[in-house]
């Protein structure tokens, strides 16, 4: 197994600020916009972006939620292991809001497909957008594309993209792992 660094901590920081600015450009004061981090790995990116928007760009209030899609996945009983759920925390209504899904890696698009179904349990959003740090090109199973992307990566199926966050893994870094 070998791994190479796709993004360093410095690069991630620059990308996060760019993504924050792009969000700001489209959503201004975030009055009718909610950010939804997808469990389990999208929540770190969502929290980070919300923090940058508040601290560096003076947005005073952002609705930030976490959505777990385990029970909405289409691969129940297809793997060997029981799918383990994470916490969903959405303390606001998404009815008529602009929802931005935030996840670390966009791969087959199946998680996003599940998230699109899952979010309906919380109301009917006006619009749904997708933000991902890494967009793995040429690997989609469904017609789903991100509205905001950090970096596009060409990775073949045997390879894995690993996104590490300081608050959870000790450092900000993105690896391409060859198995």
């Amino acid at each position: 197994m070998s791994q190479k660094v796709l993004l360093s901590s410095k690069e991630i920081n620059i990308i996060l600020h760019r993504l924050a600015c792009q969000l700001l450009e489209n959503h201004l004061n975030f009055k009718d916009t909610v950010l939804i981090g997808l469990q389990p790995r999208g929540i770190y990116l969502a929290v980070r972006l919300a923090k940058i928007l508040k601290e560096d760009y003076g947005v005073d209030h952002i609705d930030l939620g976490f959505l777990d899609i385990t029970f909405f996945r289409d691969d129940f009983r297809r793997g060997d292991k029981t799918l383990e759920a994470n916490k969903t925390k959405i303390d606001f209504l998404v009815e008529d809001k602009n929802v931005v899904f935030i996840d670390d890696v966009l791969y087959t698009g199946r998680s996003i497909n599940a998230a699109l179904t899952a979010i309906q349990s919380f109301g009917r959003p006006k619009e749904v957008e997708l933000l991902t740090l890494i967009d793995r090109r040429f690997s989609r199973h469904l017609p789903i594309q991100p509205n905001y992307r950090g970096r596009q990566v060409d990775a073949i199926n045997g390879e894995k993209v690993k996104v590490m966050w300081e608050e959870n893994d000790g450092e900000d870094v993105v690896y391409l792992v060859k198995t």
Binding site: T82, A85, K87
Partner: protein, 308 residues
């Protein structure tokens, strides 16, 4: 550990402590789902479940059916009263006939102890025991412990008292197994005639004096007097039972501390507990019913994920 160690839920006796924790953690997620405006997830859309009830039930059956529907499973219901069982069909034949219609899981209540275990050895399907005679009622014990955990933070180290007909109660037996497995202290209280001979071998202490027992406990689980199972007279009169083993508000208020009151239902109001106790702030009886759906969703979800 993210998988149950068993393929059927036949009784708490066959579970490990880690299984119980996994069920509770999964139930936490389902409880959140049940508080959404759309209380349904599509996980089990390719699973069919048969609810086979050879004995009457309101709460348990409704709770199982709701749990199954909230998980998007297809549900078929079967009551022995309206079936070919009356024509002399055997249990295995009945169930195999249902299974040949491609059913993946069977939830069964049966008056005979061990019916679920027997079935699990003879048919190819995941079996959930929804009560087998005076043996076990595992989902009730799980939801009872889950409700204690929710109210008091933890089950381990808590003093739990079970009052009433221990001899005929599958709820009592499953509760004792579940509580001991989680490290709670358990005492039982009730007429000597309704105590099983070997109760102490389960690691349970018998306390004949209700007031003493109530002063000891954090939680009192008041069982129903099951008149339908009392083939002979185990105590002189219902009135005398109530005087000795019934809990009323005056008794509750006279205790040293505030305890939690539980009841598996259906309540005989005025017999094991009075109405003002059942409806008091200390009672978590309706929370138990609410938690029942989340617990049953967790059990069904975890067992279904092992069906290949």
């Amino acid at each position: 550990m993210s998988e149950l160690s068993v393929n059927h839920l036949l009784g708490i006796k066959y579970l490990k402590e880690s299984d119980i924790q996994l069920i509770f953690e999964t139930a936490d997620h389902f409880k959140e789902v049940l508080n959404r405006s759309i209380k349904k997830v599509p996980s089990l859309r390719d699973i069919t479940i048969a609810n086979i009830f050879f004995e009457n039930s309101t709460r348990t059956r409704l709770s199982f059916e709701l749990a199954e529907k909230r998980l998007s499973a297809d549900v078929v219901n079967f009551s022995a009263g309206q079936s070919s069982v009356k024509k002399g069909e055997t249990l295995i034949d009945t169930v195999n006939n249902i299974l040949s219609m491609k059913v993946d899981m069977v939830v069964m209540r049966h008056p005979n102890p061990g019916a679920g275990i027997f079935l699990s050895k003879h048919v190819k399907s995941a079996i959930v025991n929804a009560g087998d005679g005076a043996h076990e009622h595992p989902t009730q014990a799980l939801l009872d412990s889950y409700s204690i955990r929710e109210k008091l933070g933890d089950v381990s180290g808590k003093n739990v008292l079970i009052v009433g007909d221990i001899l005929h109660s599958r709820v009592a037996l499953s509760n004792i197994f579940a509580l001991k497995l989680q490290g709670a202290n358990v005492k039982v209280c009730g007429p000597k005639t309704l105590m099983p001979k070997y109760i102490e071998s389960l690691g349970v202490e018998v306390e004949p004096d209700l007031r003493k027992a109530l002063n000891w406990c954090d939680v009192a689980n008041m069982l129903r007097i099951q008149n339908e199972r009392l083939d002979i007279s185990y105590f002189p009169t219902t009135r005398e039972y109530t005087q000795q083993y019934g809990v009323n508000k005056a008794l509750l208020n006279s205790l040293d501390k505030e305890i939690v009151i539980m009841h598996p239902g259906p309540i005989n109001r005025g017999v094991e507990i009075t109405s003002d106790v059942a409806d008091s702030k200390q009672s978590i009886i309706l929370d138990q019913v609410e938690n029942g759906v989340a617990i049953r969703m967790a059990v069904i979800y975890l067992l279904a994920s092992k069906i290949k």
